[in-house]
Symmetry: C2
Subunit: 264 residues, 2 copies
Amino acid sequence: MSSNKKARTQPSYELVYWPGIPGRGEFIRLAFEAAGVSYKDVANESKDGIKSVTSLIAQESTGDSDGNPPAFAPPALRIPGEGRNGKALVIYQTPSILSYLGDKIGLAGNDEAEKAWILSHTLTALDLNNEAHDTHHPVAVSKYYEDQKEESLKRATDFRENRIPKFLGFFERVLKGNQEQGKGKYLVGDKLSYADTTLWHVLSGLEFAFPQEIKAIKGDYDLLFGAFYDSVKEQNGLKEYLASDRRQPFSMGIFRHYPELDRQ
Amino acid sequence: MSSNKKARTQPSYELVYWPGIPGRGEFIRLAFEAAGVSYKDVANESKDGIKSVTSLIAQESTGDSDGNPPAFAPPALRIPGEGRNGKALVIYQTPSILSYLGDKIGLAGNDEAEKAWILSHTLTALDLNNEAHDTHHPVAVSKYYEDQKEESLKRATDFRENRIPKFLGFFERVLKGNQEQGKGKYLVGDKLSYADTTLWHVLSGLEFAFPQEIKAIKGDYDLLFGAFYDSVKEQNGLKEYLASDRRQPFSMGIFRHYPELDRQ
């Protein structure tokens, strides 16, 4: 858990997510770390914290005793004191959590337009994240990769040949269009937003999952793999986090390195 | 284009989306129609309106002359006068548009908690929408269904057996947890939100694409296919819209009826 001077002015934030993997929880962690705002990563920090995850998504739940609705899947953000009648507020869905948090922790832009664009670009980066996942699970999330390997080879080929260039080309253009203000370092305006941390993590995941592919094409995206990538990871807060053991390594989550799915 | 007394107090909204299909544009249309707020459906209402779509997503664009970033894909919402220096504001990504609009047109709940939950549930309904799409395009969006039919049969089976029950069971529980306030008619609080209109359209699409499947299981979801489904389509504004020729029929978009993908 990071903590600094800003922490005292913030409510206590609890991230409810599976332990041991970056997963979709990482998008929330990066926002907190970049903002220098303290949070509790419940399942990674306490022995039976995983119960907070399993009870969040219990198949019979119609909501919690604080008046929050059930959650479809983790991550969720729990904020004691911010719900109804001084109870805890619970929000699920990564973009919804980031949209709520962005305002509070100063990562959501300077005005209404920037706020909207930051959410839009974040959703697009998360679409890319989901498509990266589907390269190893094109048929069913409930089945093993090994049972859908043939389909994965086809989907990964299309992903590498068509989808990665489409998404990366788009974000390169966003950076270029905002270059006067953002200097290639920020997607929107002249400071870091949760769209930047989100896209950064997805790029980092793609480099892990498809190292040959990214190596071959990164030269086509000067800003994205230059000023942008380098600047985000050197941000105060993020730099320390990325060097710490709180940063979980990629393994068998959304981003997986199957050499046969990469460029040959 | 709908118009009524509320229209005069609202800016002029322009929906930029492909003509002739409901698609993702429909989620925006339903919000406007339910709120009774006037909008221009550019590509459906003007002869060369489709140019507004193609220029929106032009592959070389770094943004428009009003200072808006490029858009990854339609739909986009254009709002003359609401951008910087009195220029037009352009927002893309369905959930981002709905989140922005929800506040302005009264479909985003009564407080900060409801606002967050409405966005969360909307994102979940749109995930279901995307998974429905992927049943006929599990390998590549750029290829024909006929070229990925074998994989589609597998993916559709998993979608029907595992994913539909998971999503519908979740929304049934949301309705149940909110029954005291929502009477089974609203996902959040005691009035219609854009989460309701979004989920309603997805249910309607599932009935079109998988009629046998939905017929067989709808009895398991009393609130969802009872109070909720019936009440949303009878809402003022929506009822008139759904009976009008502005409502585009499902055909070969996200929701497609391939009998071989349905329950046999």
